[in-house]
């Protein structure tokens, strides 16, 4: 049923217009790439703070709070361009296992963030200035780095394996 929807979507004028455009598709993809830079880059720095590797002398809450708006801005760009890219070739994406791998690990990254925010994050004031961050924070930071690196890799594979 989902596949039929994807096929229907791929046949729409909008989808075809993006897919076959000379300028629009490259622009969307280029912006997607830069959005990756901003969002993944700032997430990496937040994760490195959670790991106690970077900006160690600043309270963790302060570092995360400072970077978060830009991570969100980057995500908005990545998701909206990503959505447009998907809309331009939904059926092809559906048939590509790299696409599903990418979605799965995006979901896992989101789950990791959710778990972090509902548990160890709530007690951040306790470990804000600790030299060694608690295990939960270090796990969350590691998983985040690994998951997002994999998402980037799967995205790249997906782009080349049509």
């Amino acid at each position: 049923m989902i596949y039929e929807f994807c096929q229907w979507l791929q046949d729409t004028t909008f989808s075809t217009a993006i897919r076959e455009s000379e300028i629009v598709f490259p622009c969307i993809e280029g912006t997607h790439l830069l959005g990756i830079g901003v969002s993944a880059g700032t997430i990496a720095f937040s994760d490195l703070r959670l790991l106690g590797v970077m900006m160690k002398k600043e309270p963790a809450s302060k570092v995360l709070a400072a970077l978060l708006p830009f991570t969100i801005a980057g995500f908005v760009v990545v998701f909206s361009t990503g959505l447009l890219l998907f809309i331009s070739e939904p059926a092809k994406s559906y048939r590509n296992y790299w696409f599903w791998l990418k979605l799965t690990f995006m979901g896992l990254a989101g789950l990791n963030a959710l778990i972090f925010h509902t548990t160890i994050y709530r007690r951040m004031v306790e470990w804000d200035n600790d030299a060694v961050t608690p295990r939960g924070a270090r796990l969350a930071g590691t998983f985040s780095l690994v998951f997002w690196a994999l998402v980037i890799w799967f995205g790249r594979q997906f782009a080349y394996n049509h």
Binding site: L33, G37, V38, G41, T42, M54, A66, I152, W153
Partner: protein, 159 residues
């Protein structure tokens, strides 16, 4: 924009052992390109944070110098990795890139962004006091140059 006299050099690059090895199997190019993109994430993240601070947009509670000290290793290392991986990617298809305007634009932007960062941005970041307007201009120009490289890079595949 295309430096015609460099064609022999491009052809020579195409035939190097490294270039041939990059082309010899199916895993080399994807691996190097993935490393290239991961380094890009860290580089753009570093450039974004540093330049937005110069522009007075984020982390205003910190001095630029303090932030620069934290960011510097990540910016330098990601730049080094992206340049090395970029050279490998270039060697794998040097002859093809010669006629590609986007490739030349990317190279000029790489030179511009790197020079601007190390000559202008770094000096400004070390100063005790930064004039807000100068910071805004310098940060904006630097960010634009770095982002421009990314755009030009993507355009290579489409020209």
């Amino acid at each position: 924009m295309i430096l015609k006299f460099m064609l022999p050099f491009f052809i020579w690059c195409d035939h190097t052992a490294v270039g041939e090895y990059m082309r010899s199997g199916t895993w080399q190019f994807p691996l190097v390109e993935t490393i290239h993109i991961l380094a890009l994430a860290i580089l753009i993240g570093s450039a974004t944070v540093l330049n937005l601070r110069l522009m007075g947009v984020l982390m205003r509670g910190w001095t630029v110098a303090a932030l620069m000290r934290e960011i510097r290793p990540y910016l330098n290392w990601s730049l080094a990795i992206i340049l090395v991986s970029g050279v490998l990617l270039y060697l794998s298809e040097a002859a093809k890139t010669f006629d590609n305007l986007a490739f030349w634009a990317k190279v000029y932007l790489i030179i511009g962004a790197t020079a601007f960062h190390y000559i202008v941005v770094r000096r400004m970041a070390r100063a005790d006091e930064i004039d807000p307007t100068a910071g805004r201009i310098v940060g904006f120009v630097s960010l634009l140059l770095w982002l421009g490289i990314g755009w030009a890079g993507r355009a290579i595949a489409f020209i």
